[in-house]
Structures are given as C-alpha cells and as structure tokens.
Symmetry: C2
Subunit: 243 residues, 2 copies
Amino acid sequence: MISKNQLKLIRALGQKKYRKQHNQYLVQGEKNVLELLASGLTIIDIFATAAFIAQFQQQFTHVNMIEADEGVLTKASTLVSNNAAIAIVDMPKVTLPEAEGLILALDGVSDPGNLGTIIRVADWYGIQHIVASLDSADPYNPKTISATMGSFVRVSVSQVNLAEYLTQITQPIYGAFLEGENLHRSQLAQSGVLLMGSESHGIREDCAALVTNKITIPAFGGAESLNVAMATGIILDNFKRQA
Amino acid sequence: MISKNQLKLIRALGQKKYRKQHNQYLVQGEKNVLELLASGLTIIDIFATAAFIAQFQQQFTHVNMIEADEGVLTKASTLVSNNAAIAIVDMPKVTLPEAEGLILALDGVSDPGNLGTIIRVADWYGIQHIVASLDSADPYNPKTISATMGSFVRVSVSQVNLAEYLTQITQPIYGAFLEGENLHRSQLAQSGVLLMGSESHGIREDCAALVTNKITIPAFGGAESLNVAMATGIILDNFKRQA
C-alpha cells in the first residue's frame, strides 16, 4: 500500500521545485520502470500493481516492490495512462562529459516531450551525453522521462551555461541552421558537438557565434521547418552513416 | 462576431462523426490558417482576432474574415492555445495517387499527433501522397491538422483498405522492420511505396506479406525502437539523398 506521505511525495515530485529539494524524481509506466530496474540507478521506492509484481519481482530482487492497485497508481501518477508502476528515484550525479565521441548540445529546447524524444533518438544512435542550456526543459520532468521510453537510463543530460561550455570545446561544433551546408554533402567528424536550437528561436546568437560548421537538412518540398526532435534524429543518422 | 450556430458547428467539427456529416473540418492557429489562406482549399468561414484581420485581410481578399475576440476563439477552439484564427473548411475530394514518385503508406498509425508530424516531414521531403489504413488516425482530426504546421495543404491523405491497395502496386514496396536490410547500405528506388507500421504493432501480417524490400534504420545504442514519425523522417531522408 502507498502511505499518505508517500502519495504526497509522489505528487510533489511532479513539480521541479520539489524534485530539486528532494533530489529525487519519478519514473512511471511499465517500459520506463523496467528499464529503470535493469539499470544501476538508485531506487528509493517502487509501487506497482499485483500483476506487475507477479511478473517482475523475481527478475529484480534488489528492490522490494510495494503493491498498490491501479486506481491508486493512476491517481498518484502525473500521467494519464500506463500506470502499472511508479518509482521514486535518486537523481544521479551528472558530470560534464569528456569531449570524446559526439556530444549533443541543446539550446533552449523547452518542451519536455521534445527533450524526451531527443534523448530516445540520441540513445538509438549511441549518443551518451547531452548538454542543455539552463532554460531547456527539465530532464527529470515526468513528461521528459515518459517520452524517453526508457532511454533516460543510458543518456545523461547536464544543464549548463551553454555558451561557456561551448567556448571550451576545441573540436568541431556543428550547428543546425536553415542556411548551412547540405548535410547530404557534408563530411561529418565523429567527435565534437552537434548543437540544435529550439523550434521557435533557433540557435541563439551567443552559441551561434561558436559554431564552426553550419549544416542544413536539405528540403525537397514545401514545409518551412522540422520539429527539433525530428531534425536531431535525421542529423544523427547522417553522422552515424559516416561512422 | 461568431453566432451561436457557428459556435455549435465549430464545436461539432471537433468530432469525426460531425466532420463526416458536414464534410467539413477545422483549421486552427495562425500558422495553419495562413497556409490555408495561401492554398486553393475552399474556406466556408473564418473567424479571427482584430489583430489577425488587420495584419492579413488585405493579403487575402478572397475571404471575408469575421472578427471575434481571442477569449471567444479560445472557447470555441479544440486547441489549448494559439487561437488567433479558426477556419471551417470544405473537405477536398482526395483521389488515390497515381503510382509515380514515392508514396507513403501507413498501417494503423492511430495517434493524430504522429500522423500530423508524418504529414509535415513528408512535405519537407516533397512526398505529396499518403495512403493510410482505415484504422489510422483521421487526417482531419484537429490534432492532426495542428501537428502538420501547415503541411496539410500540400499532402493528401487517402484512407483505404491498405492490403487491397498494396496488392495493385507493381513497383517496389519498402517496409520498415526491425530485421530488414541496413538502410545505410540499401539501394533505394525513387518510385514506389514506403510502408510504415504503428509503434505498437508494426506492419501487420496482410500488408507485411506484400512488402518487396524490408529495410531497417541501423541502431548504434540501447533504444529498442523509434517513434513512427521519427522513423519515417529518417527513412525519407535516406531515400532523398539518393534522388
């Protein structure tokens, strides 16, 4: 059973202020909780339906799952559906990535769903580190975690002063612009930074000034732009085909 | 001003049943309405804020915009925000595409947001026709239209018995599977069909049997799958780089 205090904590962790205060966040839904259980992340508490426990407790003996019925989980959850399990997790200490391989940098990507989708596609292409501007969406927002479909366990996100971070990079900094070099004709290094801006503002001035290679996804039709997550996936695919 | 009857109609067109009955649908938000105004589609009525009318009426004299304040538009709208204008539009007659160039086929893509995002990226890559299974999301769902970011004016979507449609195709039918040929190493024809399945069920048996070329987006990391819209964009990029 979920106690009143645990329920209160779960609700509070839906908000950034309390995530920061407790240094904890929520992982919800079967796919994300299963990836969490298989990861090395520190689980404080995990609440799950009897069916979930019957199916998975034996496989993951390092945590003791607390039974709760789906109605209670749904009421506790910040998500509308998919409430087989909810976990409270310690935020890992994220250190800035060493400049090795390709690092993804995000400038002002403020939508948590977009950030989560980017984490998922980054994971598909084997990118392990994302560096995001301070005003980017919270990587621990439940909507972000949900959209990662489990990839949050393999991709770290550091929020930093992005221009300051980029100033220290000595490798190529690729930036996605509408007027860059055709991505299909570009030589793409396998080490450095790929910088993506937000859909509404693009890459801002201070970061744009530090880009060494402007690239563009060639357009063949009438759409004016692509969603930032979509653009990130397409560009990563172009990088990796040269790997 | 919006009359009570017009308000009732707008509300009704949020539902598929009434869209079918009236043969009309809604286009909402500045970007989508501007694309609509610049297109050849038949607008029945358009309601907009004074600011929108002041800025755009002169540019589009073929329709008479009816002023409404933003509060009323927001109340009328099926969207949460972005309510500078709402239009009621006649459904165009969509005919099945001639097999020329690349046609996108969707099997059971039931999420309207995904369908809209697919229409947008199809438009980016110059794909003009999408053929979708009967149980795919409604192309005229307000969430679909909204996610297209204006691309609904350039891309037609026909809903058909997909297996029957594919049976008549004599050109290559590419299908996205987890165990197909590596997309980065495939020769991709510029004419034929690209078939995508839903995220949860993939391409179903009856359609899968008609696929001539199984392809796969190569994975480099730990994610198990990609969102169907993301996968569609990445595959289209691979097709077009060989154009």
